[in-house]
Amino acid sequence: MTRPAHASAGEMMTVAAARALKDGDRCFVGIGKPSTAANLARRTHAPRLVLVYESGTIGAKPGRLPLSIGDGILAETADTVVSVPEIFNYWLQPGRIDVGFLGAAQLDRFGNINTTVIGDDYADPRVRLPGAGGAPEIAASCREVIVIVTHSRRTFVEKVDFVTSVGFGAGPGDRERHGLRGTGPRLVVTDLGVLAPDPETCELTLTHLHPGVTRDQARAATGWELRIATDLTTTEPPSETELSVLRALEEA
């Protein structure tokens, strides 16, 4: 029934992220792939997924994919709409959200994220990126974080130029030391596979390769010596249902 050949790398990535969401989870959603993945999950295995957008829309049930985190359709379909100070203070900060989605311009082996500047000098950056947005507090306060990011040496770096959002800092115990109450990145979903932190060392470890991707491809796209799980698994390709729902979503 499954026709993996039909799925692009981007589609595989979105489907893998969607599967990581459990029914009933409260999910803090950014625009782009996170929003697509969350809406896909809500239409497949997780109909009671609660979508929370930083624009203040709680329990949004958009009939089509929003193009921004503040689209009107989010407000129109939400259980309630609150102010931006309230969404951060009363909803994100106390740990009411189960899963936060983040992207990254750079990511290191401990899941620390840079979305601020590329280059060594903050005052004179090589590339000025958009900055933090909601990410530092999403990374701090959600029960767990899922990172969605394209796999390349430009992104998967030995050391991020700027820590915008903390993953596991310098390793085990660092989140506790910083008083961060969520458990940090649970998964990093890429176009090549899936990484998860080693329970002992917190180092991101390749646990899944998407169909047709090799270990060497993943190693070559990673800017540090990539650890590979002993039980490395091939990701289940997107099902017919997942693909058709995803495509319908993206066309709507």
Binding site: I31, G32, E54, S55, G56, T57, L67, S68, I69, G70, D71, G72, L74, A75, E76, V81, S83, V84, P85, F88, N89, L92, Q93, T116, Y122, D124, P125, V127, R128, L129, P130, G131, A132, G133, G134, A135, P136, E137, A140, S141, F162, V163, T164, S165, V166, G169, D174, R175, H178, G179, L180, R181
Partner: protein, 267 residues
């Protein structure tokens, strides 16, 4: 207090060179027409405050109005980078741009503290990131009861707040619905304020999800239909996503930007 006037009159009265001004609107109800009026009036050395500087701030920066930007996310939502912002931050064109960088949670709390008449706000934020090392307005604070260390950020109290809203009545009471963002906070935090509106009506019919800013909290109200385009005004028009995409090309090149500015804003 809630005086109804024209956009050009209100901007001329409120916005002066060197002022700290905040044009807010979280995706929704961004006061773009007011931004263009500031460009037309040739203001300089402004400190621009905004959580999500998007294309209206890209335009103000590219037009040379800004000296400093206080922000938390500077991008073209769903499209990519802000080229005029990057050109100013990376190359100092058309003028050097000082930046003061926060997170959304920090900025939202800075406005809330400003609205509440407090000098600072407390949040769980920034810890472990590189932001406190670059931003002087992020400091630790200790809970006097538990000893826990949290983060403090100073209040924002701009000279002028400018927002767009759906409606006002003739007394200057302003009604806003849909995503209300930090509209209330920035108006209450600022020394003066201007609200541009889609409609001026005899009576504000109550609506689900609407908030009201009493006329006495607002200095000027200007009737500017379409004043939020290319962002949107729920109940009036949708977001012009095509223009947000087109902005990427317009803004990438200094000359193309200046041609656009001349033909679309200055003329």
């Amino acid at each position: 207090m809630g005086e109804i006037t024209t956009l050009s009159d209100a901007v001329a009265r409120l916005v002066h060179d060197g002022d700290t001004i905040a044009l807010e609107g979280f995706t929704h109800l961004i006061p773009v027409a007011a931004g263009h009026e500031i460009i037309r009036q040739g203001r300089r050395d402004l400190t621009l405050v905004r959580m999500t500087p998007d294309i209206v701030y890209d335009q103000l920066i590219g037009a040379g109005c800004a000296r400093k930007l206080i922000f938390s996310w500077a991008g073209n939502p769903g499209v990519g980078s802000l080229h005029r912002f990057r050109d100013a931050a990376q190359h100092g064109w058309p003028a050097p741009l000082e930046i003061e960088e926060h997170s959304h949670a920090g900025m939202a709390n800075r406005y809330a503290a400003g609205a509440a008449g407090l000098p600072f706000a407390v949040l769980r934020g920034y810890t472990g990131t590189d932001l406190p090392a670059q931003t002087a307005t992020i400091k630790p604070i200790t809970c006097p009861f538990t000893g826990e260390v949290l983060t403090a950020v100073p209040a924002l109290n701009p000279d002028v707040a400018i927002v767009h809203a759906q409606r006002a009545d003739r007394d200057g009471n302003v009604q806003i619905w849909g995503i209300t963002g930090v509209h209330k906070e920035v108006v209450l935090a600022s020394r003066t304020s201007l609200v541009t509106v889609e409609e001026i009506v005899d009576e504000l019919e109550p609506r689900p999800g609407a908030i009201v800013l009493p006329g006495w909290t607002v200095d000027y109200v200007a009737h500017v239909p379409g004043g939020a385009r290319p962002s949107y005004a729920m109940g009036y028009y949708d977001r012009d996503n095509v223009f947000y995409q087109a902005w990427d090309d317009i803004s990438r090149d200094r000359d193309a930007f200046q041609a656009w500015l001349r033909s679309e804003v200055l003329s």
